[in-house]
């Protein structure tokens, strides 16, 4: 448990809207910390479609998800936001002094008068294959049971491993774990892979050497007792089923979006969205704002440009909470020397 970090605003989600919120808050001298479960900024823009062009950002006729993220990072650089990547906002509670304490699953504690939920559709989490009772075998310790990521390779030494999937993660871990494993079986729905060609070549080489068994098949059932995995049932292309002794099952099908712990924040969610007013974009809980895809209000459009507008209005309202005794003067970046100073462009 770390010492709580005090700041003005904690933003949950470092997607385009969370990033632009840093800018709008920064112009008002409000400092921000961002929490994101992903390992880098950009949210859906960089996780789902980094290379795909977006055509409806005002002033940018064509921009990819990655380019937009890079431009936003450039734009907010002067404001020195602090990032907490690979962390999921896991708990929120009100303190006696009226501020909020947000905890993450990594033990970070952030204390601020204003919380901004800019979490899009929620948290990116690994896709869980529709295999009965798979949850019972998760979180059973390193090297055994079901894992969606590998933390300690050494824990898999001497184990019978089944990997499912055909992307880079599936192939990379097949290649990395094969030398350690007692046996390693890779299953995929086709005899082809979207992974990098050199990884596919390496996997084929391991297959020729007998270090890896590859089947066009899928995992249909898990076997074990009291959460200890002992085997899997595989089903081949011809629907023929067979069992395989298994200590660890590693499915790699990428990420999907689940709402996650935000559901427990007491924000009167409606159909997994946070209702807000359209003057402040504040939830029904004072001090907690919601901007971007996660909020709902009459006429809501899930567009990045709408989120930018929401961030600007949120920042004005947040100022009055963070600086109750100060007067807020509306200024333009084109003409205000004090804003230009903050942006580091003052002549």
């Amino acid at each position: 448990m770390s010492t709580p970090i005090e700041t003005d605003v904690v933003i949950v989600g470092a997607g385009p809207i969370g990033l632009f919120a840093v800018f709008e808050l920064g112009l008002l001298d409000l400092k921000a910390h961002l929490v994101d479960i992903l390992d880098r900024p950009g949210g859906q823009c960089t996780e789902l479609y980094p290379e795909k062009p977006i055509y409806d950002i005002p002033g940018l006729p064509i921009v990819t998800g990655q380019e937009l993220t890079n431009k936003l990072l450039d734009q907010i650089k002067p404001f020195g936001a602090q990032y907490h990547f690979n962390e999921m906002a896991s708990g929120l509670e009100k303190l006696a002094d009226g501020r909020w304490r947000l905890k993450t699953d990594a033990g970070t504690e952030l204390v601020a008068p204003v919380i901004v939920i800019a979490a899009g559709g929620g948290s990116f989490v690994p896709k869980r294959p529709p295999v009965p009772h798979i949850e019972a075998y998760e979180n059973r310790g390193d090297g055994v049971g079901v894992h969606y990521a590998v933390r300690k390779m050494e824990a898999f030494r001497g184990k019978n491993i089944v990997i499912a999937g055909g992307g880079d993660s599936a192939l990379d871990w097949t290649i990395n774990l094969a030398p350690l494993a007692k046996s390693l079986t890779l299953v995929h729905h086709r005899d082809g892979f979207r992974a990098a060609q050199h990884s596919v070549n390496q996997m084929r080489e391991l297959e020729r050497e007998g270090r890896v068994k590859f089947h066009v098949a899928s995992v249909k059932q898990l076997h074990g007792e009291h959460g200890k995995l002992t085997g899997v049932t595989l089903s081949g292309a011809d629907k023929k089923e067979w069992q395989l002794e298994t200590d660890a099952f590693l499915p790699f099908f990428g990420l999907t979006i689940k709402l996650g712990p935000i559901a427990e924040f007491g924000l009167n969610l409606h159909e997994n969205l946070i209702p807000v007013d359209t003057a402040r974009f504040e939830s029904m809980t004072p001090g907690i704002f919601a901007i971007g895809d996660i909020n709902s209000y009459p006429g809501k459009l899930k567009l990045i440009l709408s989120g930018f507008h929401e961030a600007a209005l949120m920042a004005q309202a947040a100022f009055h909470i963070c600086r109750p005794n100060e007067k807020l003067r509306f200024q333009y970046t084109t003409s205000s020397s004090s804003l230009q100073k903050k942006l580091g462009v003052h002549a």
């Binding site: 789902l48 795909k52 559709g121 529709p130 995929h188 729905h189 999907t256």
Partner: protein, 102 residues
């Protein structure tokens, strides 16, 4: 054109398809639980459906990008497609799809 869509509970829905729109958009507009996280950019595999009763063969084959993206889908079968990549047209009147598990 009409789309006959079976949801994850086995209930069948008859949905009016609009020419030029994707089957994913029609399913989502009809309230079926198709996540379609990337919004139809063939980038997430969360609009996965099975195409039934001989309709799979009547579709134009999936692009390389779709075949690649299906590698990230769960419970893929030989008749799996991403519904964002199936475009409604009169020739597909009566197409049968089943929403894949999530």
């Amino acid at each position: 054109m009409k789309i006959f869509a079976t949801d994850r509970k086995g209930a069948e829905h008859v949905i009016e398809g609009r020419d030029g729109w994707s089957v994913m958009e029609m399913l989502r507009d009809a309230g079926l639980p198709v996540a379609a996280e990337c919004g139809g950019a063939c980038a997430c595999a969360t609009c996965h459906v099975y195409v039934n009763d001989g309709w799979y063969e009547k579709l134009s084959p999936p692009s390389d990008a779709e075949v690649d993206m299906l590698d990230m889908a769960l419970a893929v079968e030989p008749n799996s497609r991403l519904s964002c990549q199936i475009v409604c047209a009169e020739a597909l009147d009566g197409i049968k799809v089943t929403v894949a598990p999530e």
